[in-house]
């Protein structure tokens, strides 16, 4: 009782909300500070018994979860529910979220839990912590979606969408947008299913008309659902992708372009490589001019030089008439091969070998040297070591040949990689190796005089 009256008198301040963590002088928060202080405490006012048991119970649940003892965790959870009656209003308010977080995890993994149990739990929790209604609804819908229950998920999301409580806040708005977007995504799923059916129907069929009519309705609803969310900065790949697909289907090319351009170029959005990839894909489908494609990929090149589209980019640049594009084409190839994940990309090596020859034939030695200068102190160890020669030859002989050619051109014929591959006797590749030797002799940048 005394605690209760104390609660009434004392206004809850903002900084008292941190439960387990405490800020130190440096502004850092230490979740383990309480533990240290408890070792020192000798007397004085302690935490109430109730609070002690509930926090002990919480740690038991967490421990059981980490040991995958779902049964045990569920039993502890049963006891933990008493926290909902805590006299401390802060704890009481924070409790539903903790219960939902842990409880849903238990029910997700518990061997005896079923869909019904989960549904009941989620429905109960939505109404206990009113503040969490939207969040729980969304996660519940995802759970259903994951279990293949599209209808149920859709119904859930519709319910959540219309839910209103308290003041409007930006965080609630974002959540509602997210819920709508997921609903839109569900509608997209049904739509694309219909589209599949439609593609199997005959155009003159009577059923075709109704089906297409249906699809039209869907599309309209979906677009409303989806377009609100994708204005908010974030990563919305699945939504953007499906929205664009629908717009394209109905011939709204301009709309689709606008959505994608906005998604790729809006500065408030994180630099998402997929945004540029989607835009590129769209433009490619639209058969946009090469210049346009190159400009899109140029930005992607700056963000992710290791992307597999870079090889396509190189092809585009190679075909271009502009000299600067030719130079960029070389840069792109070198760029791809800089990355640890691309060292065995045979296409890239093939392109590089071919393009190096081509560039040197076109007497653009300066380009090659410019690229090589920044790499000459580490590429030999990174790509052309004796170890790699041996292991490449063992794993992939064609790759070894391509690399040897590049090594020969860049490092001269004294290079170990080149020498190793040259020495190898191979029936099938004999011709190739011979050709390689010739090219190296002719084009090697180390001693261009020869």
């Amino acid at each position: 009782m005394s605690d209760f009256s104390e609660e009434l008198v004392r206004p809850t301040t903002e900084d008292e909300q941190g439960e387990t963590c405490v800020l130190s002088g440096t502004g850092m928060c230490f979740p383990w500070l309480q533990k240290h202080i408890e070792t020192v405490a000798t007397g004085g006012k302690r935490e109430k018994d109730f609070a002690q048991t509930t926090s002990a119970c919480l740690s038991f649940i967490q421990e059981a979860l980490l040991k995958h003892q779902w049964q045990q965790a569920a039993e502890y959870m049963h006891s933990y529910l008493q926290i909902l009656e805590d006299s401390d209003s802060n704890k009481r308010q924070g409790a539903p979220e903790i219960i939902w977080r842990l409880g849903s995890e238990i029910l997700y993994y518990h061997p005896k839990s079923s869909l019904e149990t989960f549904n009941t739990f989620a429905d109960r929790m939505k109404n206990i912590g009113v503040m969490n209604y939207l969040k729980i609804s969304l996660q519940h819908a995802l759970y259903l979606l994951h279990h293949g229950l599209l209808e149920d998920a859709n119904r859930n999301l519709s319910q959540a969408e219309t839910w209103r409580y308290g003041e409007k806040s930006s965080s609630k708005e974002v959540l509602i947008n997210l819920i709508q977007a997921y609903k839109g995504l569900l509608q997209y799923y049904t739509w694309s299913k219909k589209k599949m059916e439609l593609s199997q129907l005959d155009e003159d069929d009577y059923a075709y008309n109704t089906a297409s009519q249906n699809m039209l309705n869907h599309s309209w609803k979906t677009s409303i659902n989806l377009c609100a969310l994708i204005q908010i900065p974030g990563v919305w790949d699945p939504f953007v992708k499906s929205y664009v697909e629908m717009l394209e289907f109905y011939g709204d090319q301009d709309g689709a372009r606008e959505v994608l351009t906005n998604y790729a170029y809006d500065e408030k959005f994180p630099s998402n490589p997929n945004a540029h990839i989607y835009l590129y894909g769209f433009l490619k489908r639209e058969r946009a001019p090469r210049e346009k494609l190159i400009s899109v990929l140029k930005i992607l090149y700056q963000i992710v030089p290791s992307h597999k589209l870079m090889l396509e980019f190189h092809r585009l640049l190679r075909k271009s008439e502009k000299e600067e594009h030719h130079k960029l084409g070389l840069e792109v190839l070198f760029g791809v091969l800089d990355f640890a994940g691309c060292t065995k990309n045979i296409t890239a090596w093939k392109y590089l070998a071919k393009y190096l020859r081509q560039t040197l034939m076109g007497s653009h030695l300066a380009w090659v040297q410019e690229e090589w200068n920044s790499r000459k102190n580490w590429w030999p160890r990174f790509h052309f070591s004796y170890f790699w020669a041996k292991s490449d030859w063992k794993d992939d002989k064609t790759l070894a040949c391509e690399k040897a050619l590049v090594a020969g051109i860049l490092l001269g014929k004294g290079c170990r990689y080149f020498r190793y591959v040259k020495k190898q006797d191979h029936q099938v590749l004999q011709k190739k190796i011979k050709q390689m030797k010739k090219s190296v002799k002719k084009y090697s940048i180390v001693n261009p005089g020869l």
């Binding site: 440096t26 020192v40 049964q71 969040k135 759970y143 694309s192 963000i303 597999k308 102190n377 990174f382």
Partner: protein
């Protein structure tokens, strides 16, 4: 490289930490993370079952890790704890616990222990006569003190450690007059420094970043399963050990031979290793420097050798561990401001990054030397006082990550200095909490891109773990609340145990907690947690494998087992049936523990996880380890026995020309400054011990406790084992028992005059001359002198005896005598020697009261008591090593 074709939806907010109005759409829970959106309409999952490997579980073979190597010969001290630093008492529970540093106690401790340091400078300043501002009315004689005389008084006198040491009037006056002045000046000068030091120690206790990255490394050998453990050990962790270990999937690891070691000049903080595939010749091709140092002349270039980078506080060093096993030093680097992190390149052999507290990050190559690639004394995102910096590699060999407490940045070493993109930002972008800081970052790429793209970085804060793709900066692809109750120290990504399996990621907290996560994400799918994370047994879980000990040793063992984790190494052993994970842990005490885990073959959700139990082999291994541990001497206590000035007393002695053997012995002992012993005094040899206080044979418990208290319980046990069979001791004990029982019978109140040979003794009987004839025949005085005199230095005995001589005659009537004596004995019945002393005091007081102050003034009584209690303290501290006092390292 493949990029995920569709990233999981996430909100992108910019702003500071703990922005309240952000809905947390990053689902911080393993199951929600598993719910990735289906790529296509989810027809495939219509069947209802989520296609997710639900229980990927590693089962430990034993309930806890086992010691792999015997404990080192150096004692280990757990160091400062919160108890030493914080104010005790007056604890008031609050939602935000507050730590209050206890400066006053530390200050008083310091003044006691280092009085010379604290007061000497001031004394030197005041060497000539000085005047203390006193009341005008006081005469000059009382306010002016000559320091010269004062120093003369103090000559050879070292009062610290002994509050009751002799003080002259002059000194007393000086301390009264000068106290306030000295106290304030000292408090002003020292208090601030002390507070600063305490605060620094407290910060270090809360967050110790010296061992970030881990100081244990596994260098795989030529054969699968064979390899070397590299770790620091020794009292100061300044010896780097190389221990060959052979692992087999079926059994515990075998330690091959004795470890080799290298003595270093500083403590080892971090050990990093990378296998270099046959780089000996490659180096030779480039530069002669490396190859000259390398012993690698093996024609088989595919033989693996490893590079070993070691970080100490102010030095970094690079070794090559070749096939012959002899590590060859390559280069040493001095870091003036202190190094905070070192990492070895996974791409280019021998390339390292070194970070310094000054905010500089250098790329270091034994051939090309050192190159500073980044320098910024300020932190990246917002201002944070920590000088901790970290650097690691990325998928591009020329791009590094540079991290501090506030974020992680990608820095191109070839570009203009200082530019780069932020990879991770402590802020709303990652929905960080208020007060969240980066504690550990690590590049998770290695040379097997099949299972996971080589572009991922791990960022750990005190709350969460983030997985970031360097191609998508600022947006974490995965966030999980790790819930560790200490600083995350090491993280290690392991190769998949089976092809197609998710990759295990180990995370170790400083307090010994271990967590295992599974990360999956092949090709074009986004990385996510496969199954719920798992916690692994920590070292303190092994306590049950050790035999039960007496409390003192048990505490020691417990303390040792809960020593902070400073290193972690793990390997997955390829095995036909079930993959086995071998896990090595290094503790701050230099202990290496090992744990084997195997992947549960077919996780059946319905069956409860079988619990591991200790095997006899494991427990015997633990017992052996424990035996060695208990043989290691404890750290000698920092407290030293007080020293007394004796020169002055010696002079006065000599002037008196007393004849006799006793004063002679005393004089020589004093002159030599050693302890006075019985033989010096030429006293009669001690007779057989009087019977009463000796515990009887039945009283094994107290005997054992006594032995345990002195830390010799094992010896006691052996003695007992041997003794019980030997016939020699039995009759004596028997005799004692009868004596004891007679003592008890005498306590029952009747006076049994016939039992005169062993009556209850009382200390007052030791008074030799002044004793009247008591009604009960006393034993001879030499006999009774034994017990109490034993613990007291002889000169004190003398004083005591003198005082006792002054006591009023006791026991006028037989009835009066029997009552107090029985009282005394009843106290003594429970006692040991120290108790006897106390009885003596009690008795003295008793006498004083009953006598009505007839012969002894009460002040004298108290002084006697003071002497006694001091002696008692000295005895107690002699027999029991005091707990190390908290004191600061000035």
């Amino acid at each position: 490289m493949d990029f995920p074709s569709s990233l999981p939806p996430s909100l992108f907010m910019t702003g500071p930490l703990g922005l309240s109005d952000v809905p947390d759409v990053s689902f911080m829970c393993s199951w929600r993370d598993a719910l990735t959106l289906p790529e296509s309409p989810p027809q495939a999952s219509e069947n209802g079952a989520p296609h997710l490997a639900k229980g990927l579980l590693w089962e430990p073979d034993t309930p806890g890790p086992l010691p792999l190597l015997p404990p080192g010969p150096d004692p280990w001290d757990p160091g400062l704890t919160a108890r030493d630093l914080l104010f005790r008492g007056g604890y008031h529970f609050r939602r935000q616990p507050r730590a209050v540093l206890d400066v006053t106690e530390q200050l008083s401790q310091f003044l006691w222990d280092h009085g010379d340091i604290a007061f000497a400078p001031l004394g030197k300043l005041m060497l000539e006569n000085f005047k203390l501002e006193g009341a005008q009315s006081r005469s000059k004689k009382k306010t002016v003190v000559s320091v010269k005389r004062l120093l003369q008084d103090l000559g050879g006198h070292q009062p610290w450690g002994c509050p009751w040491a002799y003080l002259s009037y002059r000194q007393r006056r000086f301390s009264i007059l000068g106290g306030p002045v000295l106290a304030t000046s000292l408090a002003r000068l020292l208090g601030e420094l002390l507070h600063e030091e305490l605060a620094a120690r407290w910060e270090q206790l809360l967050l110790d970043d010296t061992f970030t990255g881990g100081a244990l490394a596994w260098v795989p050998g030529r054969m699968p399963g064979a390899g070397q453990l590299v770790y620091p050990a020794g009292g100061a962790l300044d010896r780097l050990y190389f221990q060959k270990v052979s692992l087999t999937p079926g059994s515990e690891p075998r330690v091959l031979g004795d470890p080799g070691h290298i003595q270093l000049r500083g403590p080892v903080r971090q050990v990093v290793t990378r296998t270099v595939q046959g780089e000996g010749k490659a180096h030779r091709h480039l530069r002669p420097l490396l190859t000259d140092l390398l012993p690698d002349h093996n024609p088989d270039l595919l033989c693996p050798s490893a590079l070993l980078a070691v970080r100490s506080d102010y030095h970094c060093a690079l070794w090559k561990v070749g096939k012959p096993g002899q590590p060859a030093p390559l280069q040493v680097l001095q870091v003036e401001k202190g190094a905070t992190g070192i990492s070895l390149s996974p791409h280019l052999p021998g390339e390292l990054t070194v970070c310094s507290r000054s905010g500089a990050v250098c790329l270091w190559n034994p051939q090309d030397g050192l190159r500073q690639v980044y320098k910024d004394p300020e932190t990246l995102v917002f201002r944070d006082p920590s000088p901790w910096r970290w650097a690691d590699f990325t998928a591009h060999p020329r791009v590094l990550t540079v991290g501090d407490r506030t974020g992680v940045k990608l820095v191109d070493t070839q570009g203009p200095p200082g530019c780069g993109l932020l990879l991770f930002r402590g802020g709303a972008e990652a929905s960080c909490q208020k007060g969240e800081r980066v504690l550990l970052t690590q590049y998770l790429g290695d040379c097997s891109p099949e299972s996971l793209q080589p572009t991922f970085h791990l960022v750990c804060t005190q709350f969460s773990l983030y997985l970031v793709d360097e191609r998508l900066p600022l947006v974490p692809l995965l966030k999980w609340n790790h819930g560790l109750s200490s600083t995350p120290v090491v993280a290690q990504l392991l190769p998949p145990p089976r092809p197609g399996c998710p990759r295990p990621l180990l995370l170790a907290g400083q307090a010994g907690e271990l967590q295992l996560l599974h990360i999956t994400g092949e090709g074009a799918s986004t990385p996510r947690l496969a199954g719920p994370p798992q916690s692994l047994p920590s070292r303190s879980n092994s306590l049950s494998a050790f035999p039960l000990l007496e409390p003192k040793s048990q505490w020691r063992l417990q303390e040792r087992l809960s020593a902070p984790t400073i290193g972690l190494a793990a390997t997955v052993l390829p095995s036909a049936s079930t993959p086995v994970l071998s896990l090595f842990q290094l503790s701050a005490a230099g202990d290496v523990f090992h744990q084997r885990l195997h992947l549960q073959a077919d996780p059946r959700p319905d069956s409860p996880a079988p619990t591991a139990s200790w095997t006899p082999r494991a427990t015997s291994r633990c017992s052996r380890w424990l035996k060695t541990l208990l043989e290691v001497p404890l750290t000698p206590p920092m407290w030293a026995a007080p020293t007394f000035s004796h020169r002055r007393l010696l002079g006065s002695f000599e002037s008196r020309e007393v004849e006799g053997k006793v004063p002679e012995g005393l004089r020589t002992a004093m002159a030599e400054g050693r302890l006075l012993q019985h033989r010096d005094l030429g006293l009669l040899p001690t007779r057989e011990q009087p019977p009463a206080p000796e515990p009887g044979p039945e009283d094994e418990l107290s005997e054992r406790l006594e032995a345990a208290w002195e830390g010799q319980v094992a010896a006691w046990w052996e003695r007992r084992q041997g003794g019980s069979s030997g016939p020699g001791k039995q009759p004596k004990r028997h005799k004692r028992r009868t004596q004891l029982s007679s003592t008890f019978s005498s306590l029952s109140g009747r006076l049994d005059l016939s039992d005169a040979t062993s009556p209850p003794r009382s200390p007052d009987r030791t008074v030799p001359e002044a004793r009247p004839q008591p009604p009960v025949t006393p034993p001879s005085q030499e006999l009774t002198q034994g017990p109490w005199a034993e613990g007291i230095p002889s000169e004190r005995q003398q004083t005591l005896r003198d005082y006792m001589a002054e006591l009023p005659l006791q026991g006028d009537t037989p009835g009066g005598a029997s009552a107090p004596s029985s009282q005394t004995s009843s106290i003594r019945g429970t006692s040991s020697r120290q108790q006897t002393l106390r009885d003596c005091t009690v008795k003295l007081q008793l006498r004083g009261d009953t006598a009505g102050g007839a012969s002894m003034p009460s002040s004298q009584t108290s002084s006697v008591r003071a002497t006694l209690s001091r002696q008692q303290a000295a005895i107690l501290s002699g027999s029991q090593p005091l707990r190390k006092k908290p004191r600061m390292g000035f």
